[in-house]
C-alpha cells in the first residue's frame, strides 16, 4: 500500500465541492483553497489532540517516491469526540487515507474532510457539521 501511496492534486477538483468545508473558529476561505482538493494516504507521524483544531501529521510518498510530511487539520477535539472519535483513534504508525483541501499559502498543510482510519472506519473530520441531527451541515456549496 505504501508503495502505491499517491497524491492526486486538482484532478478531482469540483467533485468534492459539494462538501466544501468550513472551520469552526476561523475563516476556511482565508486559509484553505476549495479548488485544491486532494486525497492522500500516509503513515501517521504525530497527533495533536488539541484546540482549536486537532492536527495530525502523515508521511506521504508522492509519485516520484519522495516522502513529504503533511500537517492535517481537523475539527476541534470536542467536535470530533461528539462524532465518535477518541484521542486514540489515530496512533503514530497508522496508515490512514484522508480527503483534504490544501492551504492557500502553499505549505504542506491541508484541511481534512473524511478520514479512513487504520481499522477501516471512515469518519468525517471537519467542523462544518456540528453534529446535531438536523444540522444544515454548514454552508455547503456557497462561496463562503
Amino acid at each position: 500500500m505504501n508503495a502505491k501511496s499517491l497524491i492526486i492534486l486538482s484532478a478531482i477538483a469540483g467533485l468534492l465541492l459539494a462538501a466544501v468545508p468550513v472551520l469552526a473558529h476561523h475563516s476556511f476561505a482565508a486559509e484553505f483553497d476549495s479548488n485544491l482538493p486532494m486525497t492522500a494516504t500516509g503513515v501517521v507521524t504525530k497527533v495533536e489532540w488539541m484546540n482549536p483544531h486537532t492536527h495530525f501529521y502523515i508521511d506521504v510518498k508522492d509519485d516520484s517516491g519522495k516522502v513529504v510530511n503533511w500537517d492535517i487539520e481537523t475539527g476541534s477535539p470536542n467536535a470530533l469526540a461528539r462524532r465518535g472519535w477518541t484521542r486514540n483513534s489515530l496512533k503514530v504508525g497508522d496508515v490512514v487515507t484522508a480527503d483534504l483541501f490544501r492551504a492557500k499559502d502553499g505549505s504542506n498543510l491541508a484541511s481534512a474532510r473524511n478520514v479512513k482510519l487504520a481499522d477501516g472506519r471512515k469518519i468525517f473530520a471537519g467542523s462544518a457539521d456540528d453534529g446535531s441531527p438536523d444540522s444544515k451541515g454548514g454552508p455547503t456549496g456557497t462561496k463562503y
Partner: protein
C-alpha cells in the same frame, strides 16, 4: 494515470455520498424516532419556560445572520456607508481578521450562531449562560435589573433580562467594546451596539432565538433576525481552550486582529 484519476473521482463521489448518508439520523431508525418525538416545553414551578434540561443547545454555524440560508427570514441590512465599507472589506479578504480566528470571544449575539454548545441555567435573580465557544465563557443576565450608568466596555457587554408572560425571555445588552463581529461574514458592530434578544422554547427540542441589532455607527435603524437552535439531549459542555494550539494564525496572512 487516467484510470487512477477516474477511480479517485468515483471514490470522491462515493465519499461525499457516504458523508451525506451518515449525516442523516435515519441510519438509526429507533434513535431517529426518539429524537423526532415532539415533547412539550418544560416549565419551572412558577410557570416560566425552563431553558435547561439534561443536554445542551447545539447551534449550527450561522455564517451570515442576514442570509435566508441560515436565518428564518432574509434581512435587508440597513447599512450606513461606514458599515457597508467595513463589511465589504471583510468579504473581500475572506474574513481573515475575524476575531474568532484569534480565539477571542464571539460576543453577543454571535455566540448563539457559532457551532459550540451552550447551556442556560435559570436562578431566581439571574440567568447564567455557559458557552463552550472560545474559550468556555460564561454570561450573567441579571433579571429585572437596570443597566449601569456607564458600564465598562466588554466583549459580552452588560445584560439585563425580563420575562414577557411565561414564554419569552428578553435580554437587553449594552456596554460592548466594539471588537466583536456580528457573524462570520463580518456584519460590523461598534461600542454603540445594543442587542435585544428574545428566547422562546415552543417545544422541548427547539429554541427560537431572535436578536435585534441597534448600532447607530454602522446601521441606519435597528434590524432583527432569528433562527432556531436544537437541544441535544445527553451532551454536556466540554472544556475548550482555543489558544492551546492555534496554528492557523501562521497561515491566515494577517498580523493583528481588527
Amino acid at each position: 494515470m487516467h484510470r487512477i484519476v477516474f477511480v479517485a473521482a468515483v471514490s470522491a463521489l462515493l465519499q461525499v455520498a457516504s458523508f451525506h448518508a451518515k449525516a442523516q439520523p435515519a441510519a438509526k431508525p429507533a434513535a431517529a424516532a426518539a429524537a423526532n418525538e415532539v415533547k412539550p416545553t418544560p416549565r419551572l414551578s412558577d410557570g416560566k419556560v425552563d431553558f435547561g434540561g439534561k443536554g445542551v443547545w447545539a447551534p449550527i454555524w450561522v455564517l451570515d445572520w442576514a442570509n435566508k440560508k441560515w436565518v428564518n427570514q432574509a434581512v435587508d441590512v440597513p447599512f450606513k456607508p461606514a458599515g457597508l465599507e467595513l463589511f465589504n472589506e471583510r468579504r473581500a479578504n475572506n474574513s481573515k481578521d475575524d476575531p474568532e480566528g484569534y480565539c477571542l470571544p464571539a460576543g453577543v449575539p454571535r455566540y448563539t450562531g457559532t457551532p459550540y454548545p451552550f447551556q442556560i441555567i435559570q436562578l431566581p435573580d439571574r440567568v447564567v449562560i455557559l458557552y463552550e465557544g472560545a474559550s468556555h465563557m460564561y454570561r450573567v443576565v441579571l433579571m429585572n435589573a437596570e443597566h449601569s450608568k456607564d458600564p465598562d466596555p466588554s466583549w459580552l457587554g452588560e445584560s439585563v433580562g425580563h420575562w414577557e408572560g411565561n414564554d419569552t425571555l428578553v435580554i437587553d445588552t449594552v456596554g460592548f467594546n466594539g471588537r466583536t463581529w456580528l457573524d462570520y461574514v463580518g456584519h460590523p458592530a461598534s461600542d454603540q451596539l445594543h442587542v435585544i434578544e428574545r428566547l422562546k422554547r415552543p417545544d422541548y427540542r427547539t429554541l427560537v432565538y431572535e436578536a435585534t441589532i441597534e448600532d447607530p455607527k454602522y446601521y441606519t435603524k435597528p434590524w432583527t433576525t432569528s433562527f432556531n437552535v436544537k437541544f441535544q439531549p445527553g451532551w454536556e459542555i466540554k472544556e475548550y481552550v482555543c489558544l492551546e494550539n492555534n496554528k492557523d494564525l501562521l497561515h491566515l496572512g494577517t498580523k493583528e486582529p481588527k
